[in-house]
């Protein structure tokens, strides 16, 4: 291939710059993980001595973290269920049927990704406050689903587009009912996409802060809200450990998706990482 050869100086500059930028992205995360095992929670880096005390302190008696952790897990599970149902049906409608006002529906589905979250959170607060639903895990999950479902829809749309429609037609022509086709053909083929959509919905909810803050009460505080409160008022070293756990959850989730992609041989299938499409969203003409 004919391409412009880059000069040595140019190459060195670019390499140094990009190494610094990658450090810029990775350093805060690495630092938290390392510091969480250090004896002196906010002291020197790297730590002088290592300990697991902060992790054991998380689950000591009287700690606020276990309650926050289980509430976040509950909310994230509910969100995942809601967003998978919405995602499956919406993706089927958008990819596998002739939908009137298709671009309007598509725009509506993607809109929550670009609308400022504070506006969404405020609106939900005004909706749930009169209903006395503030602090209810269900309300928080319903709110998170607004943010999680667009991601699920996009992943599942990409998945459905990657499944050869003729396979479904062939099954139908041999007498399979629509339900059988969905259960025996589409569902197994869409499995990797479903897994990815579930994982992303879960971490979207698990990490979500803003809507939770507006919808939580004193009694129900999700994990990110608890972390924020601690950071704002009384920093205690256990927050480093819980942050490291949050990092671990995200990394394990992404690794899981990688494994599913590899096992199912859909490595080439686009859209399993929603950022590809999420980032390109306003570039499409179908928004707003």
């Amino acid at each position: 291939m004919i391409a412009l050869r880059s000069t040595l100086a140019g190459r060195i500059t670019l390499t140094v710059c990009s190494t610094l930028i990658l450090l810029f992205l990775a350093l805060p995360i690495v630092l938290i993980v390392v510091t969480s095992f250090g004896e002196d929670a906010f002291g020197s880096f790297p730590p002088d001595a290592w300990t697991l005390d902060w992790y054991t302190a998380l689950f000591a008696d009287g700690s606020k973290w276990p309650a926050a952790l289980s509430l976040s897990a509950l909310v994230a599970s509910l969100t995942t269920a809601f967003s998978l149902i919405l995602g499956m049906t919406a993706a089927t409608a958008l990819v596998r049927s002739e939908l009137p006002l298709r671009s309007a529906v598509y725009g509506l589905v993607l809109a929550p990704l670009v609308i400022p979250q504070v506006v969404v959170a405020l609106g939900l607060f005004l909706l749930f406050e009169p209903a006395a639903m503030l602090g209810s895990p269900l309300a928080i999950a319903l709110g998170h689903t607004v943010l999680a479902s667009p991601i699920a829809v996009m992943i599942l749309m990409a998945t459905l587009k990657g499944i050869d429609e003729r396979l479904e037609d062939a099954a139908a022509s041999m007498g399979a009912s629509r339900l059988t086709v969905a259960r025996r053909i589409t569902f197994p083929l869409a499995m990797p996409g479903l897994a990815a959509a579930a994982v992303f919905s879960f971490i979207t909810s698990f990490d979500e802060f803003f809507i939770s803050q507006f919808l939580s009460s004193v009694a129900t505080v999700t994990l990110p809200v608890q972390v924020f409160n601690v950071l704002q008022f009384d920093v205690d070293p256990t927050v480093t450990a819980i942050s490291a756990i949050l990092i671990g959850v995200a990394v394990v989730a992404l690794a899981l998706i990688g494994v599913v992609r590899r096992l199912s041989g859909t490595g080439k299938q686009d859209g399993l990482l929603p950022v590809d499409t999420a980032a390109g969203l306003p570039a499409g003409s179908e928004t707003s």
């Binding site: 992205l25 906010f42 609308i115 400022p116 909706l127 950071l231 942050s243």
Partner: protein
Amino acid sequence: MAGSLLAPAPPAPDPAAPGGRLRRLRRALSERRTRFGLLNATPVVVYLLVLFVYPIFGTLLLSLKAEDGGWTLHWYADALRGANLDILLTTLRISAETSLLSLVIGFLLAAAVSRLKPLWAGLVMIIVIVPHFISALVRTYGWIILLGEHGVINDALTGLSVPGAPFQLLYNEIGVVIGTTSVMLPYTVLLLYAVMRGIDRRLPAAAAGMGAGRLTIFRRVYLPLVAPGLVNAGILCFILCLGYYLTPALMGGPKQTMVASLITEQVMRQNQWNGAAALGIILLLLTFAGLLLLRLVKSARDAARNRGVS
């Protein structure tokens, strides 16, 4: 509301020529597909109308309601006056600074990655993407530890005996811009990388073959090719910053209060819902303005391209 959006398309005008059996069959099939589509689209549309569109609509109404029940614009007048106006301008300033910084850094990284072999490019993109899925709250906390007075950065600078070290890097605008940029960076890198990967590498080579210098090639060939991506990434980043709360709230001082913090303050502490609603609608309008700009830029580009072809 759901009904109007989901109303079936108006029936096609009856064809003058008698349709063959095939056409009727096709139409029946297509109607079946349409019904199937409507059935499947209903859950998500109803859900978002109830829990997304309706709440925003409620916010709009609240922002226009006076205390005596009539209509008023005075919540907007309040929002655009005095300290509140300052906060709005601060938000625009910090968003602009952050977008600019993310664009420059993102450009450098994307340019570097687009030159790498696929294996290396994949590895680098993992370092870009993984942080994107780690809670912004946690990453902000990481920056707070890093940038503190006795944090790693200041320790290193003092160790190198840089004059003036340790610097004040937290609870001021430097901290906010650094933290917010690191949250926005994955977006710009991904957008720019997608554009740069699509560039025909033979074009710069051709320009060089015709005697253009490196600077000229960059300015006249490469930059125009990347420009659409830069505009997209810049505007998107700006929009995302406008309503951003976490990092400015944790890493900023009193002078870095953003609109989202003000809204939270008004709702949680002052019970000032109307004022908060007006601020929210202003943010929403700014976002729409950004999206509209994106679309105008795109259609202008398309028009220019069509003129070029014909």
